[in-house]
């Protein structure tokens, strides 16, 4: 559902007529139990937002949203804070204890006799990554446990899920770097750069097999199915990236689907997995899944924005990387609306000399970055709306804080 309304948002932004618009997304709809009311400044506008009869007032709404965004991203954050009655806590502090030994535990799963292979596999588990995904998983585990039985303890199996998720993610990174022929990540050289492509691919395969082994040891066939789905989605996401669509609307839907498969699926399914382990209620599983899905998509959208707005030092990897790989991400797709000459460049995947630079300039001149950021905000709101249906807890608030951190990150 998150994908549908994202696509719908795209159509709306393109000024498409309401005739073809799919059913309105549930934004601004009746809040679930325990959720906060929407921030006052947006409240009225949000109720009108999706309705077909408001076609004429779209530009007006657009204006409101636009100004609102430009003046007060932080204001939006403070709105959520004032409504909440839990103390403000830094999510990373909250999850810190659980994740303290995360990387050590991952290394235990990677015990292999060959020193070099072990070194390669452990290369990214040096504790310098953001550990964003395990953080979400652990917080979600607690939030679900509290919702179900008021217990804050994280089960061993739930912690395993966090470990497994991080391992699957890293394995895919190692392979992605070979596919993209990348030479730096997280501020240091890539595995393929140091040890060569042959061994890098093997290292990725090994990490995946270790993750799969750990998954089997949890002993729960449902969890195995849920997390195996991620592995499939990751690969299909890579394939989606290979292809391109001619039609602009198809392109955007394609982009959202790829974003889901490559980034959001892992977070969504690991959240779902820990919720299954912590609580028998399928509604809770769906909430966890939707939270993960929306946050994941927002995370990737911001990532795509940072590729244009940040510089290489900050990111830890080269900037404008997506363009150089021939990929047309959110900012580009939005910019193309204002600069139709970008269409040809998109179709040839920025392969002609000078394409990357030109495209970059167009994007920065357009409102592509702002539009994508705004879309990310919408996804974050949706995530917040979902998670707010759970019983209040510090962890639930932390998960909400996390959505804001996603929006405000700069690397």
């Amino acid at each position: 559902m998150a994908l549908r309304w994202g696509w719908w948002w795209w159509r709306w932004r393109c000024g498409a007529s309401a005739r073809r618009a799919p059913p309105p997304p549930p934004l601004g709809s009746v809040p679930g139990p325990g959720s906060r009311p929407p921030p006052p400044a947006l409240g009225g506008a949000m109720c009108h937002f999706p309705q077909r009869s408001s076609v004429l007032s779209f530009p007006k709404i657009c204006n409101i949203f636009w100004r609102f965004h430009h003046t007060s991203t932080s204001q939006m954050c403070s709105c959520s804070k004032t409504v909440s009655d839990e103390k403000y806590q830094d999510p990373f502090q909250l999850g810190r204890k659980d994740l303290k030994n995360l990387y050590e535990d991952i290394k235990k799963e990677l015990l292999v006799s060959t020193a070099e292979l072990r070194e390669m596999c452990e290369y990214y588990f040096d504790g310098k990554g953001k550990a964003f995904r395990p953080m979400i998983v652990v917080l979600m585990a607690r939030a679900c446990n509290i919702h179900h039985s008021n217990s804050r303890e994280v089960q061993a199996s739930q912690r395993s899920v966090a470990i497994i998720a991080e391992m699957i993610h890293t394995a895919s990174l190692v392979h992605d770097d070979v596919i993209d022929d990348a030479n730096s990540r997280r501020g240091k050289m890539t595995v393929n750069q140091i040890w060569g492509e042959r061994k890098a691919v093997l290292a990725g395969d090994f990490i995946l097999s270790a993750a799969s082994l750990a998954l089997a040891r949890i002993g729960n066939t449902t969890i195995i199915s849920v997390l195996t789905q991620v592995i499939e989605d990751l690969v299909r996401g890579e394939f989606l990236q290979l292809g391109s669509k001619e039609n602009e609307n198809e392109r955007f839907a394609h982009y959202l689907e790829k974003t889901f498969k490559k980034t959001a699926s892992l977070i969504a399914n690991s959240c779902k997995a820990v919720s299954i382990l912590g609580c028998p209620d399928p509604k809770v599983h769906e909430i966890a899944y939707q939270y993960g899905k929306n946050v994941g998509i927002a995370f990737q959208l911001i990532d795509d924005v940072l590729d244009f707005t940040s510089c290489a030092d900050r990111l830890g990897k080269p900037a404008a990387a997506d363009l150089k790989l021939g990929l047309a991400t959110g900012p580009v797709l939005f910019a193309c609306r204002q600069f139709p000459e970008m269409n040809a460049m998109i179709m040839r995947r920025f392969s002609k000399p000078g394409d990357v630079e030109r495209a970059r300039k167009y994007v920065l001149q357009s409102d592509g970055v702002q539009q994508t950021t705004y879309l990310a905000q919408r996804y974050c709101h949706e995530a917040t709306r979902e998670i707010s249906k759970l019983r209040p807890s510090p962890e639930r608030e932390a998960l909400i804080q996390l959505t804001e951190m996603v929006l405000m990150r700069d690397k």
């Binding site: 060959t114 596919i179 022929d181 395969d205 995946l208 097999s209 089997a216 592995i231 394939f239």
Partner: protein, 376 residues
């Protein structure tokens, strides 16, 4: 002819004397396929017809004319049936049938076609998917080691990309099918087999640079450990997993494992021995200096003498004269020793089969052993 083979297939061992006449490999395979109910060359066809792989296939065409190994791998699938295409899957199916129905619950007996449960068939397919995925992943090139004679850089990068993607796709399919079996022990077994396979290939890689013609100083027992990982673990554990799927006892599971392990060791030894037992001297086959006969030869001769022989065969231009080296090895005890080792493993595989009741499937499994231990 088949009846005669069945009678012979029962009890005969391989030590000393002449082994029973083994049928040609292709015949063994086609008879076995009849036993399991359909040609196994169609396994994974569903997967191969997927959009993603058709996409890849189209892209791989661009590699024609380049030197990327993926092209060879792809060709191998189509033309090289002597490389035992789908052999592993066939063995898993045969052993499933040989073990018979589950003694556990009667309800288990449904879903059996030609004496094999659908979950076991799925496992056979998974085994092939994994094997194929790693054939593909073996064909990656190191960009940093490329020379201008290897062709344009972007072709090699493209080939790598296709190889990684298609291998990952096959592995992902294997994982999904594994999850559908709804059996955590099987997932554990097969995941550990994948880990073994990676380690085995890793060892292969470390020694494959033919430029540095010096071989590793390994003895035969290390060789066996490494070959177990790269060539036996997958089949051995799949055979065991097939037994687990039908809830057979731990003893039967172990026997299936032993069969898979020893049969594939024999197979590897058989394959390593080919350059040394073939009569035709026209085609000089290059061989790995870490093949079994060479490793055994070194053990008998001592490392220094072996290195000296290698250097002599290398001559002035640093180009290996394989014929000369082959003769040096044949003159020693390496070849006969390797043949003995092959038969030894073959016997252990046959011994493991004793735990299964006599049947067509069991006989076919024995015939496979005879075929890989035959050297005439």
């Amino acid at each position: 002819m088949w009846g005669a083979l069945l009678r012979l297939g029962g009890r005969r061992g391989l030590s000393g004397g002449v082994p029973p006449p083994a049928a040609p490999w292709s015949q063994v395979v086609s008879e076995a396929e009849k036993i399991v109910g359909y040609p196994t060359s169609f396994m994974s066809l569903r997967c191969l017809l997927s959009d993603e792989l058709s996409n890849i296939a189209m892209q791989v065409r661009k590699l024609v004319g380049t030197k990327h190994p993926l092209l060879d791998t792809a060709r191998g699938f189509v033309y090289d049936s002597r490389n035992n295409l789908q052999m592993r899957g066939l063995v898993v199916l045969l052993i499933s049938k040989a073990a018979g129905p589950s003694t556990a619950e009667l309800s288990f007996q449904h879903n059996m076609v030609s004496g094999i449960y659908s979950s076991q068939r799925s496992l056979a397919e998974i085994t092939e998917l994994i094997h194929t995925a790693f054939l593909v992943h073996r064909g990656i090139v190191n960009i940093g080691e490329l020379k201008s004679c290897d062709g344009p850089l972007k072709d090699m990068q493209f080939g790598n990309k296709m190889a990684v993607l298609s291998g990952d796709f096959l592995l992902a399919n294997a994982c999904t099918s594994l999850a559908q079996l709804q059996n955590t022990k099987v997932v554990e077994l097969i995941s550990s087999a994948i880990g073994d396979l990676v380690q085995g290939i890793y060892y292969e890689n470390s020694k494959s640079s033919e430029e540095n013609c010096l071989t590793d100083d390994i003895g035969i027992s290390t060789w066996k450990e490494q070959v177990f990982l790269s060539h036996s673990a997958l089949l051995a554990k799949s055979c065991q997993a097939a037994m687990e799927l039908a809830k057979h006892s731990a003893e039967i599971q172990d026997m299936a494992f032993q069969y898979g392990k020893h049969m594939s060791m024999s197979h590897k030894l058989h394959s390593d021995l080919q350059p040394f037992v073939k009569e035709s001297s026209s085609d000089i086959m290059a061989f790995s200096l870490n093949c079994a006969p060479a490793v055994l030869h070194q053990e008998f001769l001592g490392r220094d003498a072996w290195i000296k022989q290698i250097r002599e065969a290398q001559g002035k231009g640093n180009i290996m004269d394989y014929k000369k080296l082959q003769e040096a090895i044949k003159a020693g005890k390496g070849v006969t020793s390797a043949i003995d080792l092959c038969r030894c493993h073959g016997n252990r595989a046959l011994a493991a089969l004793e735990s299964f009741p006599p049947s067509e499937a069991r006989a076919a499994l024995a015939n496979i052993v005879y075929a890989v231990t035959r050297f005439s």
